[in-house]
């Protein structure tokens, strides 16, 4: 691997906190991580190393941040308080911002109806359980419009507005 193409300041674009550089590669984050059982494994300490070294290409192509189960055990156990889970979210954000194929489809669902699932439409089932009708945003066009307009001002939606056209 040649570091010639690496970007020394990449970490500022990805995870610009005072925490990242405390990492001393101790491996605590990976030794009990559920997603480290995967294939390829999620190796959080390797991600930290790649961010610090500024390996842009490798990081853009790395799928493992998306395997994280968000259990945050690494966050709890990291002796250097790198906040590895937040780092993973930051890497995902950076990937999404730089590669539109990374943008999770679920945000389109949320934009469209407020939720990742079809909430509040199973009225029959709900009735049978004795549940009240839900005042969901999906049923409230005025509120939903406000919500969408708000999202339209955020980077991911404004930069990829074509996805949200429908």
């Amino acid at each position: 691997m040649d570091l010639k193409g690496s970007i020394p300041d990449l970490w500022k674009a990805i995870y610009n906190t005072g925490d990242l550089h405390h990492c001393f590669n101790c491996s605590t984050c990976i030794s009990g991580c559920p997603a480290s059982f995967g294939d390829p494994p999620l190796l959080v300490r390797n991600l930290a190393r790649k961010v610090i070294l500024g390996l842009e290409e490798e990081l853009l192509n790395d799928d493992t941040p998306w395997a994280c189960v968000s259990c945050s055990k690494c966050e709890e156990m990291c002796p250097m308080d790198v906040k590895p889970f937040e780092m993973i979210l930051s890497i995902r954000q950076w990937q999404s911002a730089n590669d539109e194929t990374r943008v999770p489809p679920s945000i389109v669902e949320i934009y469209k109806r407020g939720y990742t699932q079809a909430v509040g439409v199973n009225t029959e089932l709900r009735d049978s359980l004795g549940l009240p009708e839900l005042m969901t945003i999906t049923k409230n066009p005025e509120q939903l419009q406000m919500f969408r307009e708000m999202l339209m001002k955020t980077p991911v939606v404004s930069a990829n507005d074509y996805m949200f056209g429908g």
Binding site: A67, R92, S96, P104, T116, L129, G130, M135
Partner: protein, 295 residues
């Protein structure tokens, strides 16, 4: 005490019987629930938190502002919703610049976040606010004679200073005491604190390994305990721990994995005398062995 019920997506859409259980038992225990009208996705970690801070926190802020307008704390059952809302709130409260930005985005919607409403997990309300002793005193039926194991939702443990309410996130006690309050005997086992593995992209990206990971947990439960059921307190744990048992059975070619899984609120509602038909009817692992013994 009044709390604003934040249901999230999965519970009302896929497991409304859990919602029913919460709506049934909370008032009995002195908690009045008000609905979070027009709430939106918490947002799930795989959604806006994975794209940018503005959309993440604006969405969190939208939800938080609903509770603030009602003047009460939020109560959540789903682990992911709980963790996402608490982390979102943490960011908003500890970074004035982020708070300003969120309020700037919220302003045209007539909303605002000040941080007056806290985010609470339903198990925390039961454990800390109501208490296992009160619950034990209120129940009409019990799980007496039955063995259970508990599944702690990771999202209510880690990172402890953001989401935690246990005295020790490394040695939590809440779920155990809550289940014991219903009269069951709680078995310990080696992998009690192992994550169910159901959240995030683990199952999606490497299903083989994720199922193996879950298998190690179920094998430990079967080998080390005499459990009759698993009590969880997170919608993802509930769904994943049921689904994965069916997957595993197909894999091993026999009905080896058939431990009924309940959300704690379901067990609570059952013991308070509510009908299983209403509060514990949706499942793909038969619960009959337990339901028939609740007396």
């Amino acid at each position: 005490m009044e709390l604003c019920l934040f249901l999230g997506c999965n519970t009302p859409a896929i497991r409304p019987d859990v919602e029913r259980a919460i709506r049934a038992s909370m008032p009995v225990l002195g908690i009045d629930l008000v609905d979070a009208d027009n709430y939106v996705c918490c947002p799930a970690f795989g959604a806006f938190p994975s794209t940018d801070t503005d959309s993440w926190l604006a969405t969190s802020g939208w939800n938080l502002s609903i509770a603030e307008q009602k003047g009460c704390d939020i109560v959540v059952q789903c682990g992911s919703c709980y963790s996402s809302l608490r982390m979102g709130r943490e960011h908003i409260m500890h970074h004035p610049d982020k708070k300003d930005r969120v309020n700037e985005l919220l302003e045209p919607t007539g909303r605002r976040v000040e941080g007056t409403s806290k985010v609470r997990h339903v198990s925390e309300v039961l454990y800390k606010e109501i208490g296992p002793e009160t619950i034990a005193g209120q129940i009409k039926k019990s799980l007496k004679g039955m063995n259970g194991v508990v599944q702690y939702p990771c999202h209510t443990l880690f990172p402890s200073e953001v989401v935690g309410f246990e005295d020790s996130a490394r040695a939590p006690k809440g779920m155990r005491q809550l289940v014991e309050a219903l009269g069951a005997n709680v078995n310990s086992y080696s992998r009690e604190l192992q994550c169910c593995g159901g959240a995030g992209g683990f199952m999606k990206s490497t299903p083989e390994q994720a199922i193996e990971f879950a298998k190690s947990k179920f094998d430990a439960i079967l080998a080390e305990t005499q459990t009759d059921f698993i009590a969880v307190s997170c919608i993802t744990c509930l769904m994943h721990m049921e689904n994965v048992q069916n997957t595993l059975n197909k894999r091993v070619g026999e009905e080896r994995y058939k431990i009924p899984v309940f959300d704690y609120n379901q067990l609570l509602a059952l013991c308070l005398g509510f009908e299983a038909k209403q509060v514990a009817s949706i499942t793909n692992v038969s619960r009959d062995s337990v339901l028939s013994r609740i007396a």
